[in-house]
Subunit: 186 residues, 2 copies
């Protein structure tokens, strides 16, 4: 059995902070190449290096049936007409699925099947659970005016593969048109 102190964690759905968990941050400079408007990216970067999102992760144990959970918070903002979003990733162990649960704000999850390229945009909001099947690239996009906070649970052995995404990108972008999110194939 684990140490009793490791069996319970508490989180704040407003701030996305998990007490005692390790925080990771992604600033704009960490997201080179993911926004479609290179000029807007360069201008925003020249104007500072804003924090775009941060995560807290809890990793209690790493056996074959263990699970991890993490909470991500994407700040509101845009680069040109494109909303702040995560880098996106596949799981290194491709069969690994993930459940996302919205805690605050409103956004979208972009899911793209690695084999077929088929993609879907699924709303991510409080009291909703989004299922990310295995072998599916996934990215989270904050389409609202407040922070988007969500919880993800995944097999401990999933792992994060960012390289495959960096190489081929996603086939869909989500931009703000007349104040509303619109998807476009690129």
């Amino acid at each position: 059995m684990l140490n009793p102190a490791d069996l319970l964690t508490s989180f704040d759905p407003e701030t996305g902070v998990i007490d005692g968990a390790l925080r990771s941050e992604r600033c704009l400079s960490d997201l080179r190449g993911i926004f479609h408007d290179a000029d807007a990216y360069a201008a925003a970067l020249a104007d500072g290096d804003p924090l775009v999102y941060y995560t807290y992760a809890v990793e209690p144990a790493d056996g074959p049936g263990d699970l991890y959970y993490a909470i991500g918070t994407i700040l509101p903002g845009r680069i040109g007409d494109e909303y702040y979003m995560t880098k996106g990733h596949l799981h290194t162990w491709r069969p690994a699925a993930e459940f996302y649960i919205g805690l605050r704000g409103s956004g979208l999850m972009l899911l793209e099947d690695e084999a077929t390229g088929e993609s879907h945009l699924v709303p991510l909001e409080p009291n909703g659970a989004v299922y990310v099947p295995g072998s599916t690239a996934h990215r989270t996009i904050n389409t609202g005016d407040e922070p988007l906070t969500y919880l993800g649970i995944y097999p401990a052995r999933a792992g994060h593969d960012y390289a495959a995404i960096a190489e081929r990108g996603f086939s869909t972008i989500v931009t703000c048109v007349d104040g509303r999110p619109v998807a476009r194939r690129v």
Copy 2:
């Protein structure tokens, strides 16, 4: 990729209902043998067969890396001095862990290591996540005056083994003493 309609589910944290998911119910008659006060159990059963808890489960896919989620709701109540609670189970695939997240009400999770018998009671409340390691029998107990609603996420291949619990029981019971939960070894 799954059907888009299967990628998103919505739940109500107040009622524990997941739209479109299958509901299961456990009435008092389904819980024979789990409460320590046999006379109080018989009297309560003779007085009707109240609903004790219900669950809704979502099972999007069942590959080796897939996940399921379920929401359980235990009504408030007692049999004698013992709080309403679940039967409790181990996972058939023993390495499978589970994350529980409190949505409403207040309760406890009783965790008992199958090999060592070591047990812990961990609070289950909104904005808290309880980790159930593999090979750990777990039972949920409603110690409050309102329904206790919680979400659990677990590997698709976990399975539920109720028989092992029915045979050996748990070593700890939680009773109401002067209006507060008190744990006792039995």
